[in-house]
Point group: C2
Chain length 108, copies 2
Amino acid sequence: MVTLTALYKRPEDTAAFDDHYTNVHTPLVAKVPGLRKMEVSRFSKMLTPPNALISDQPYLECTMYFDNMDSFKAAMASEENKAAGKDLMSFAGPLVSMFVGVREDITL
Amino acid sequence: MVTLTALYKRPEDTAAFDDHYTNVHTPLVAKVPGLRKMEVSRFSKMLTPPNALISDQPYLECTMYFDNMDSFKAAMASEENKAAGKDLMSFAGPLVSMFVGVREDITL
């Protein structure tokens, strides 16, 4: 599936961030048309030293899943996504990095 | 679920990396006891500028899922994981960052 991944640097006030993320931001994202699944990771430990890509343990990651690139593009252009993006910038602008990708299950 | 997330910086030789990742590394990881699910994202676009956490678009992300922390710890201590870890360092030591976390589905 096509994914939008948001990776967050640890905020200074984690309690305020968590409250806004859970109670304001997530409900706005959930309204975005075409969003099929949303997963959130909260990281507790970094097993490797900082390297040329990453300077520190990220705080949180959210993966948002869409059926295909057309669905993703339509989602990005929606009013609901504009509202979620505006909210994101209001509380996490300097903290968040966003990546578009394709995600697949690996058969075990 | 408890997750181990591996985030890779873009390698210089992506074809050699892809070949080793798919044909050597993934089969080794798939043998780790207690591994319930494995997902791989390949990123195509970064929507945000570099920030204090991330200097560039990551190349690939793998999320490995375990039932709980006991299962994760047993997996990490297994011979199969030692073999996968040794292989990882052989082809991606300076490229990979690894994080332990808890991942949840968000109800839409």
